[in-house]
Symmetry: C2
Amino acid sequence: MTLSPTERSTVRRNAKRSRTDRSDLHAILDSGLVCHLGMTVDGAPRVLPTGYGRSGDTLYLHGSSGARNLREGGEGVAICVAVTHLDGIVYARSLMHHSINYRSAVIHGSARAVSSPEEKWEGLRVISEQLAPGSWEHSRQPDRKELAATAVIALDLSEASVKVRAGGPGDDAADIAANDAWAGVLPLHRSWAAPIPSDDLPAGFAVPEHIARREHPGT
Amino acid sequence: MTLSPTERSTVRRNAKRSRTDRSDLHAILDSGLVCHLGMTVDGAPRVLPTGYGRSGDTLYLHGSSGARNLREGGEGVAICVAVTHLDGIVYARSLMHHSINYRSAVIHGSARAVSSPEEKWEGLRVISEQLAPGSWEHSRQPDRKELAATAVIALDLSEASVKVRAGGPGDDAADIAANDAWAGVLPLHRSWAAPIPSDDLPAGFAVPEHIARREHPGT
């Protein structure tokens, strides 16, 4: 299924980097750790980093994101969510052709406050699994009081821009001929270091497999 | 020098994580690679990942960021810039106490289109040095035509929120006593992989020291 960009989600700058396959959007979201949530507060833009999770074509955000602005706004508050992976720095012969290899998803839509307990449960589950896969089963799940105290915001994934840049620099012919500077890509990787047990964990408590063998995150 | 938060830059949620030292803001900005720029376009919030650089207490953004919205807006368009470092995932005994270790800077202010060639030059230099330290000297600098074609946006660093979370989980006493789940931190690292020369670079062109020995990026 392809994305159907609207006016605002149509990529204009470097349009050749645009992707319209919904699977590209899903892949970028699924390999991220946090998103940047944009909203308007008192007439001015605000951006906050926050956790998220995806269930089908709905993105869920923890309701503490943006504090009361989103919760009080209820239905129809316009928001924008960006998830960005940096894959490397592109060094060119000229400064102007320096660039970044990246995968970027920007989603536009209206925040929906999740009201049904079933959907709130699913929202919290996918937010949790995105940040800490396996914890939903391993750790203590929210009790009724915790669930009631937690707001969950939903965002439909129907309106999104996806951009990807990969590969080497695109230098001007004169700069390539001059051969005065190095050109290429310095790839950027992310990895987990060794788990650090909490001070109050009894000695000998083994690190569970889902943490010890957690897959390396996207860049 | 300390930050003097305004109403909107005052940290309310988890205020104990707030930092008001200007050096903390500078450190977070200086170790980042891209920021997320928020602005209002046609009445709706928009968030875009983009490069940036800092010179003293001014942040510079490449004018292609947000395309013509910012350039045409000229003086006084409200923007918000977030720079976020993820340092690790905090696993708790309960799902509700799972968290993220992070360093976050959120800057509020008005975009200023840079008009003087001298300030534009300085802006481009710090944007370039942030993403590719050393390239400003090693690569071909912008010529007069390239400089004229590039817009640079300035943002004053006077109004900013800085939040930092570090350390282990803060579980409830009952969950600690139950001792049913692992708790601790899984640290997240970023590193450079081996540089990949451009296909059109002559064989034997040595990777310059500033790329081969580039310091590992912040998380």
